[in-house]
């Protein structure tokens, strides 16, 4: 029987800062504001572009959960210009407009 998942066995959650230095390849989407998406391991990452400079330029979502916002596109993140066409990543995107 497998051991129960206790707090000390839960893998540490990757911080926003750690994600910003990770090498990620982004695909462009059709969403109005969540312009970029990526599949990173088992996670779906999306980047929403906000109304800069009123707000921070970007907000990162991981599996639809908001991680945090930042103002500069990370150096290790690369962009592909082709719009994703109904891939599994695209189909899992939510419409990330603010309430």
């Amino acid at each position: 029987m497998s051991e129960p998942l206790t707090a000390d066995r839960v893998p540490p959650r990757m911080s926003l800062d750690d994600r910003l230095i990770k090498e990620v390849k982004w695909l462009k989407t059709n969403d109005p504001t969540a312009l970029w998406c990526a599949q990173v391991g088992a996670e779906t990452w999306t980047v929403r572009v906000n109304d800069f400079p009123e707000e921070h330029l970007y907000t990162l979502f991981v599996n639809d959960e908001e991680l945090g916002s930042f103002d500069e596109w990370p150096r290790n993140w690369s962009r592909a210009e082709d719009v994703s066409n109904g891939s599994s990543v695209e189909s899992r995107l939510r419409f990330h407009h603010r309430a």
């Binding site: 059709n30 969403d31 109005p32 504001t33 312009l35 572009v49 109304d51 800069f52 400079p53 009123e54 707000e55 921070h56 330029l57 970007y58 103002d71 500069e72 596109w73 962009r79 719009v83 419409f95 407009h97 603010r98 309430a99």
Partner: protein
């Protein structure tokens, strides 16, 4: 009348620091600070932007005192915010980031520089507001975050 180069030399000699001319390597960098428009850090751009838009309220009070019509005040408020937003983006260092902003606005408003005044009026009209309420809303919106504006334009981009 002095020859041009002699005039330039004598003019430059009046300053404590060296005068930078177009052919100098430092000219391009120095040019960026002309009229205070420099490539700035995002936080500096934001602070500048907020300072400018915060002035709209005071301007509006002055316009009211001058008897400017509500519609005209709304246009002026929209113009200040719109132009300030465009200028803020011109300060950004990363062209890809500027492109992201333009793409976002194209998708939301059909315009890379954000909604036009007429678009804002039309979208507010759809809410069934009186004309004066529409203009007041635009004036308020020019001074605050654009969440209210965004709500009006919430829509999905049609799939290709």
């Amino acid at each position: 009348m002095l020859p041009l180069q002699q005039a330039i030399t004598e003019f430059g000699g009046q300053f404590r620091d060296a005068m930078i001319e177009p052919e100098d390597e430092a000219y391009e960098e120095a040019r960026k600070v002309y009229n205070g428009m420099i490539d700035r850090r995002p936080s500096e751009i934001r602070a500048w932007y907020r300072g400018r838009t915060a002035e709209i309220s005071e301007f509006n009070q002055g316009w009211i005192a001058e008897g400017v019509s509500l519609e005209e005040r709304a246009r002026r408020a929209w113009r200040i915010r719109h132009d300030t937003r465009v200028r803020a983006r011109s300060m950004m260092e990363n062209p890809a980031e500027v492109e992201d902003l333009g793409e976002r606005d194209r998708r939301l408003y059909g315009n890379p520089d954000g909604p036009t005044f007429d678009q804002l009026v039309r979208e507010n009209d759809r809410l069934g507001l009186r004309q004066d309420e529409v203009y007041e809303r635009i004036i308020r919106g020019s001074q605050t975050t654009n969440r209210e504006v965004n709500k009006l334009f919430d829509r999905k981009v049609p799939s290709p």
